[in-house]
Symmetry: C2
Subunit: 96 residues, 2 copies
């Protein structure tokens, strides 16, 4: 009845990050931080987890002289995100 929710996506911040990345091709650390309102530390950790899971890729470069970490959703990430959304809807349909 209730499908298992991917624990990697069932996290407020990681879900927000994925939601952003689902719509923008790529986004850098600062942008993600601003949009989510997360602390740097938290964001850093969650980005690591999404990277390890293969849901996003991270490219480290420079914007001018400043370091710039750019994140991008992978096909696997897209798939996981879509599945998560589908699964979640089962929980939200009240049936009432």
């Amino acid at each position: 009845m209730f499908p298992k929710l991917d624990p990697l996506l069932h996290s407020e911040l990681r879900l927000a990050v994925m939601s952003i990345l689902a719509g923008v091709d790529e986004a850098d650390f600062s942008y993600l931080k601003k949009q989510t309102g997360a602390t740097s530390g938290n964001l850093s950790v969650q980005i690591d987890k999404l990277t390890t899971a293969g849901y996003i890729t991270v490219e480290k470069g420079f914007k001018g002289k400043m370091p710039c970490t750019t994140c991008k959703m992978t096909p696997a990430g897209r798939e996981a995100f879509d599945s998560y959304v589908t699964a979640l809807k089962e929980y939200l349909a009240t049936g009432a």
Copy 2:
């Protein structure tokens, strides 16, 4: 941009319980356990939390000679659930 998600509802099992209760007036422990596939321990703990939050009420009685714990969603619970669903949709709309 991303509204805060009620942590009490952003939990797989608690959300499943609330989802069930949103559709059925009331449900007993065994039914919830069966429908969610949760272990008794986990279910017991999560029901406690929902009760403490005022999202559900619990009535302990007997069905024949067997103890029977019946759960019911409160108006506050209904409101919280609706708000959660609304908030969550912000996360799922990809914008892509």
